[in-house]
Symmetry: C2
Subunit: 278 residues, 2 copies
Amino acid sequence: MTASTQGSTPRRILVTGANGLIGGLLTDAWRESDRYRAVGLARQPGPDVEIVTDLTDLDAAVNAMEGIDAVVHLAATSAVGSTWEQVLPSNLIATYNVFEAARRAGVGQVVFASSNHAIGTYETENAPALYELDDDRIWDHTAENRPDSLYGVSKVYGEAMARYYVDHHGLRAFCLRIGGVRAPDDPSHPALLWKPEFDNDPGKLATRKRTRAVWLSERDCVQLIERCLESDRDWVLCYGISDNPRRFWDIEHAKDVLGYAPQDAAPKDIVPDRSMPS
Amino acid sequence: MTASTQGSTPRRILVTGANGLIGGLLTDAWRESDRYRAVGLARQPGPDVEIVTDLTDLDAAVNAMEGIDAVVHLAATSAVGSTWEQVLPSNLIATYNVFEAARRAGVGQVVFASSNHAIGTYETENAPALYELDDDRIWDHTAENRPDSLYGVSKVYGEAMARYYVDHHGLRAFCLRIGGVRAPDDPSHPALLWKPEFDNDPGKLATRKRTRAVWLSERDCVQLIERCLESDRDWVLCYGISDNPRRFWDIEHAKDVLGYAPQDAAPKDIVPDRSMPS
């Protein structure tokens, strides 16, 4: 053990949305870590929640940042079909409050859970063809914003808010357009694989192919967020998916600027070999 | 007079923010028009206001759209330094309400007054050098969003909202990043020209040079909005400035996609010839 790590204090990372799937992953991953300690925040109590508060309250957000070294802002209404009444408080007001509270509290770094739905119209326009293994279209972080939902609009807004705080208030921000993190996290799980009844339901087979394309494994998700926390960059916007055999969102930029090195890949073959007895 | 125009009814254009400078320009320009009739909307009564209402009320916004053929959405808190408390109701909530009300009321076309402040950081990073006549940097509608303010963030959001309604609800939307419309509208007005005391105040001279670069004359402003109303396109994002001798925002795209043909240009020489007696 070197002098620099001996006795070092883990960085205190405020994890908003701590009752969510990714919030739980971080808490679990960092339970024994000497690098990070998750300080979970949510509106409702939970096993990983240390601070119960509503981020629509700016003062409460500022208070929650006391003694915090970085924020992973996961709290949001996360359903693509979220209504305006859900998006306004949870994604518009709360996200401003997180960035402004970070500024006021002197917290220098925010990882923001954005979403591919910021550009989801490229997918809705080209599905299901773009889910196929031999389709080679990929959209990267420079694609023009084309949100597919009010939820997607809120993520474009969150990215713009992040950029404003980077450019004009010295914050360092990392916007991750996270793909599909699944529980259970198993590439052979039925959620990823074909079932016999899909022969009569091409929509369901397309959904499986989509899942194959956007899957982000739990450990790749944790790695990507940790790469952000370790980065010395001021601004990154990238996608978060595993090394899947077909991807329509770019991960080369995440590899280049963050050193992201995905360890997992969705299975190429999601339809069992029909010649084999089942 | 042809049969197609004889006795035709002017299109009813809802002009939000009718007490503002541009709202007044449209009302004046269309007073005798057989193409357009401005239906002014504002929170406060005024000479050009027909509907007094607050756009933070969605139902009121829907009611205001009754019998309307297109919307020119100018209402906003327009100061770059606007606070969150101003931006949230006037630019975030009201803008959603305008697009959603248009959808509910079946109004098919919205012209949205966006702003160059959606990418204002390119200017703040490069001023005052980019105001000079021999500087050739130009940012167009494909530039990555870099808002310089909460106001700028709200305009990125409004553009994303517009795009969502275009892509998913069949709206046709025109986002204009409008430059500086001035009253009085006179290129030799002191607001555009050097004054002797600027010899000791380079900041003020830079401000004059900026005004020269971003000026949008009143008639060019009206023309640009009318070009949007006449366009058969679904989606346009462009800048609105006159044919100024130095511009750092692009107007070629507006010319290409809208047929915008600016009639005015700011003066090249804003510093009087020192060799002449003053």
